[in-house]
């Protein structure tokens, strides 16, 4: 991590959901930093608590969920203890979000222009014509031609990829310092995915913003992110610089995720997968949460929960028996 204070520092974040069938510890002691201008990839299987981290940062955890503890420091300001009024200023202005499904993240009844204008009306002092100009410029910068005309169009008049461009434009409008992208390319065609990723990269580089990229797709995150944090059952199991983590992961779970990416040059073997599925998060037993699916698990893994420890290169992993560089699980 860089020397100066990071833009966002999450420390020991715990977000729990109190349901009738028990407490769901969706996020249970997660810490990470996002430096200025950095892209941080948040990776894990579904149900791993990735999106809950995103919504916790925005203060949008609805009942029965609650942030039970920890700190979320945005440039030195703690968002966990900030009031709702302050959070409303922060949302959209300091932190904005790009959603998974561009088919539902735009209101079908309002024109694109009106939905863009809404953000600027809320977060800037510009007059109507200045706002209009800003919207046109923003749409153009995300690669939408005839932008002035398109402001009057409704979401259904755009294709999926175009809509995601609009969503990105809306997210960038108020020039936020942090963008949380929650599976931004999952709902898109593969051919569109890399365009959208490039666009997001260019946008944040251009505006000097930081980004948290939430995804289950290691291929996407390895293209985009500077750092990667791997979540499993609400805990950080491994983190480090993207290249180190992809090329020589220390945690068997990360190894499993990487091995389950199809490799077109090797068509002989069956695609490898991680055996089993994510355990019931309502009653996690003590010890390592991954042990039942882990090929390296031993007796100690049933008893002692591993701490996040420095490994080779830039990696930190929570494992009693971490992999050495190049070692297969």
């Amino acid at each position: 991590m860089s020397g100066d204070t990071p833009l966002l520092a999450v420390r020991d974040l715990r977000t729990h959901f109190h349901t009738f069938s028990g407490v769901v510890r969706a996020v249970n002691g997660v810490s990470f930093d996002v430096g200025k201008g950095e892209v941080m990839g948040l990776v894990g299987e579904s149900g791993g608590g990735k999106s809950v981290v995103g919504f916790s940062i925005l203060g949008l955890i609805d009942s029965p969920g609650k942030i039970e503890g920890g700190q979320i420091m945005l440039d030195g300001e703690d968002l966990v203890s900030a009031g709702e009024a302050r959070m409303r200023q922060i949302r959209g202005r300091e932190i904005s979000m790009v959603f998974q499904d561009p088919m539902t993240s735009l209101n079908p009844l309002h024109t694109v222009g009106r939905q863009m204008d809404e953000v600027l009306r809320l977060h800037s002092d510009l007059d109507a014509s200045a706002r209009q100009k800003a919207c046109v410029a923003m749409l153009e910068s995300v690669g939408i031609s005839r932008a002035a005309e398109r402001l009057g169009a409704y979401p259904h008049q755009f294709s999926g990829g175009m809509r995601q461009r609009v969503v990105i434009a809306i997210a960038m409008l108020a020039q936020p310092r942090l963008i949380i992208a929650d599976e931004p390319t999952t709902a898109l065609d593969v051919t569109i995915q890399s365009q959208i990723l490039k666009l997001m990269r260019a946008q944040i580089a251009d505006k000097g913003a930081s980004m948290i990229l939430i995804t289950h797709d290691l291929a996407v995150v390895s293209e985009m992110a500077d750092h990667i944090t791997v979540l499993y059952c609400g805990n950080v199991v491994e983190r480090g610089k993207t290249r180190d983590l992809i090329e020589m992961p220390a945690h068997p779970y990360t190894r499993g995720l990487i091995d389950s990416i199809p490799d077109p040059s090797n068509r002989q073997d069956r695609l490898r997968q991680i055996p089993g599925s994510v355990p019931d998060i309502r009653n996690l037993p003590k010890g390592c949460n991954f042990r039942d699916r882990c090929p390296r698990a031993q007796a100690v893994c049933r008893e002692v929960e591993p701490e996040l420890m420095a490994q080779h290169a830039t990696l930190w992993a929570a494992c009693h028996f971490p992999l050495k560089p190049g070692e297969l699980a």
């Binding site: 925005l58 949008l60 009942s63 959070m87 409303r88 200023q89 922060i90 949302r91 959209g92 202005r93 904005s96 979000m97 959603f99 998974q100 499904d101 539902t104 993240s105 735009l106 209101n107 079908p108 009844l109 309002h110 809404e118 953000v119 809320l122 977060h123 969503v167 809306i170």
Partner: protein
């Protein structure tokens, strides 16, 4: 306007005979209600214009009919045709106003219940559940006997009965709307809740209400008629169609049928027209039937 004429809705409307008949009947009543006073020579509520010598004249095509009174007269010599036109005004007025009030209150409560959830949701919806377990005419009767008669009291009773369907429908649609990402996106953009409700949720839950509102006008006309027939509805000085039926009912079996039958026929046509058109709208606006 041209876009409306090219729309699917208008296209289907022109091919649906029930929609045309229904809206035709509604248009007829709209005209009768608006132009009624100009269509008849006699003001049926102006005592001075009545002549007891004209009482119980049969319709004009029967023996003893008077060409001045096409549909005959009642016991006070009041023109039945004029009474029906004036009565329809009151019936339609009550139906429309009570519908609007119900819609306003029910939609607001449904939005609140669906959006905020929790204790508000529980309270509002349990009241609605309890209310739905009683026949609406019973609740209306109970309220009318508690607050007394009068047009305003009828409106209150009908609104108290009618808000429930809107609240339930709107709450259901709201719950599914707020799960959609554009509502999340609006929250993420920092929009305050009431703006999210007004600008993003409300417009997206309105469509099913159009159908409910249309059919409810018919239902309200019927409930009001029942209340008036039972003597707890509108006062005798402002007789609605229902009260006209009641007034004529006393002499119905003496062969003086016209004083009851014509107001009854008017109610039937009005509700029939509304329901036909409402059915058409339901078929058109229900995405599941497409």
């Amino acid at each position: 306007m041209t876009t409306f004429l090219q729309s699917e809705l208008f296209h289907n409307y022109r091919r649906s005979s029930s929609a045309i008949i229904g809206s035709g009947l509604m248009a007829l009543f709209a005209f009768a209600v608006l132009a009624g006073p100009f269509l008849v020579a006699q003001d049926p509520y102006d005592i001075a214009a009545l002549n007891l010598m004209d009482s119980y004249k049969p319709p004009v095509w029967l023996e003893g009919g008077d060409p001045r009174f096409i549909l005959g007269t009642d016991g006070q010599g009041r023109d039945v045709w004029a009474s029906v036109l004036y009565g329809a005004r009151i019936s339609v007025f009550i139906g429309l106003v009570a519908m609007m009030a119900s819609c306003l209150i029910g939609t607001a409560l449904g939005l609140i219940a669906g959006f905020y959830g929790g204790i508000l949701d529980t309270v509002i919806m349990r009241i609605a559940d309890v209310q739905l377990s009683f026949p609406s005419i019973l609740i209306a009767l109970f309220l009318m006997s508690a607050v007394g008669t009068g047009v305003d009291k009828v409106l209150i009773a009908l609104t108290a009965v009618g808000w429930v369907v809107y609240a339930r429908t709107v709450r259901g649609s709201t719950l599914s709307e707020i799960e959609k990402e554009y509502v999340q996106a609006a929250k993420v953009a920092g929009l305050p809740n009431r703006k999210i409700i007004r600008k993003h949720v409300l417009p997206n839950v309105l469509t099913p209400l159009i159908v409910i509102a249309t059919i409810q006008v018919g239902t309200f006309v019927l409930i009001e008629a029942s209340l008036s027939f039972l003597g707890v509805g509108v006062p005798i000085t402002q007789p609605s169609l229902g009260l006209l039926i009641k007034n004529g009912f006393d002499v119905l079996f003496s062969g003086l049928w016209w004083t009851s039958v014509f107001p009854g026929f008017a109610i039937m046509m009005l509700v029939f027209g509304i329901n036909l058109f409402g059915d058409f709208l339901r078929d058109e606006l229900n995405p599941r039937l497409k």
